[in-house]
Point group: C2
Chain length 197, copies 2
Amino acid sequence: MTRKEQVRKKAIHLMKFHGFSGLTMRLLAKELGIEAASIYNHIKSKDELLETVCFEMAKEFEIAVLEVNDIYFNATEKLRMLITEHVRILCSDLDASTVFMHEWRYLPEGSRVQFVEKRRNYEQEIKQIIQLGIDEGDFDDIDTKYAVITILSSLNAIVEWYNPNGPLKPTEVADRLYNFIVKALMKSTQFSANYEL
Amino acid sequence: MTRKEQVRKKAIHLMKFHGFSGLTMRLLAKELGIEAASIYNHIKSKDELLETVCFEMAKEFEIAVLEVNDIYFNATEKLRMLITEHVRILCSDLDASTVFMHEWRYLPEGSRVQFVEKRRNYEQEIKQIIQLGIDEGDFDDIDTKYAVITILSSLNAIVEWYNPNGPLKPTEVADRLYNFIVKALMKSTQFSANYEL
DNA sequence: CCTACCGATCGGTAGG
DNA sequence: CCTACCGATCGGTAGG
C-alpha cells in the first residue's frame, strides 16, 4: 500500500465517524503520526479525498451492472447476481461504503452533479431488469419505481448494520435479502387481499 | 410560532443541507436576519438544536407504536397501521425527518446512547409484530431480524426521495410500501424455488 | 437583540 | 516530512 493509499484509507475511516465536515486535517495528521501540512504531499485537498472514495465506489457498481447484463438474459438471474454483487461490493470495504452512502452530499458542486447522474444510471439499470421480469411474466405488474427504491434502500442499509465479524458471510446476507425481495416481486394470483381482517 | 420555534425550524432546514457539523451559527443567524450572538437568547447550544429534533421525532414514533398495539391485535393490521403512521410522521416534516435520519450520529455522547436505545426499542416492537404474524400463521417463518431491517430501511428511505409536491399523498405511499412488504412476508407454499433458471 | 470579543481551530501555502 | 504561518472562521460569553 503506497503512502497515498494509507492516507486515504485512514481518512475514510475517520470520515465514517466524524463525517466529511467533522473530519479535520489535523486529526487525520495526528492519526497518521505526521503534521497537518505534510498531508498535502500526498493529496491535493480534503475534497479530493471524498471525490476519490465516492467515484471509486461508483465505478465498482458500474462494472457490476455491466457484467450482470453480459452474463444473464433472465430477469431473476440478473437480479440475483446484481444483488449478490451489490452486497459483495458494500461489504468488501465497509468504511468506504459508509462514507459513499452518507457523505456524497458534501462533494463539491461539479462532482456532486456527476455523482448523482451515475447513481441515477444505476437505478435505471435495475429498473430495466425489473421491467424485463414483468414483461417476461415472472414478476407482478408492480410500480417499478417503488420496487427500485425499496430494493436499493434495503440493500444499502447493510452499511448500517453488517458486522464482518458476525456469523454471516456477504453471500449469505445477499441470499437472505434476495429471497425477501424476489418474493415481494414474484407473480402470484392468490395474494390479492386475502389476509384476514 | 414562538421565536424559539422559528430558530429551531430554520436551523433544521439548514442542517438538512449542510449537516450538523457544516451548519454554522453565523449562517443560521444570517438566515434569521440577526447576529450570531443573539441566537443564544433562544437556544442553549448547537447541540441542543440537534437533541430537540432527534428526540421530538423519536417521541412521535414511540406514541405511534403504543397506539398501534392499543388498537389492533392482529399482526397484519398492526403492521399496516404502523407503516401508515411511520410514513405519515416522516412526511409531516421532511426537514426534521431528514435531520433525524442523518445527523443523530453527531448527538453528544450521552444523548446519543439514549437515542440509540429508543431506536432499538422501536425495532423490537416491530420485530414482535412480525413474530406475532409468524405465530398466527399469517407470515412465513422468515428471519425476523432481516425482515425488520428491510422494512425499516425501505420506509426510512422516504426522506431521500419523497416529494410533497408530487402526485402521491403520504397515505398512498404507505399503501404501496405496505403492499410490497406484506407480500414478501406473507405465507406461501408455492414460492419455494420455482422461478425458472 | 446588539457590540465587542474570547481562545481555539479551520484548510491550506511557502519554503525548505 | 518539517517549521512557520496565512486569513478566515468556529461555538460561545460578557455586558449591556
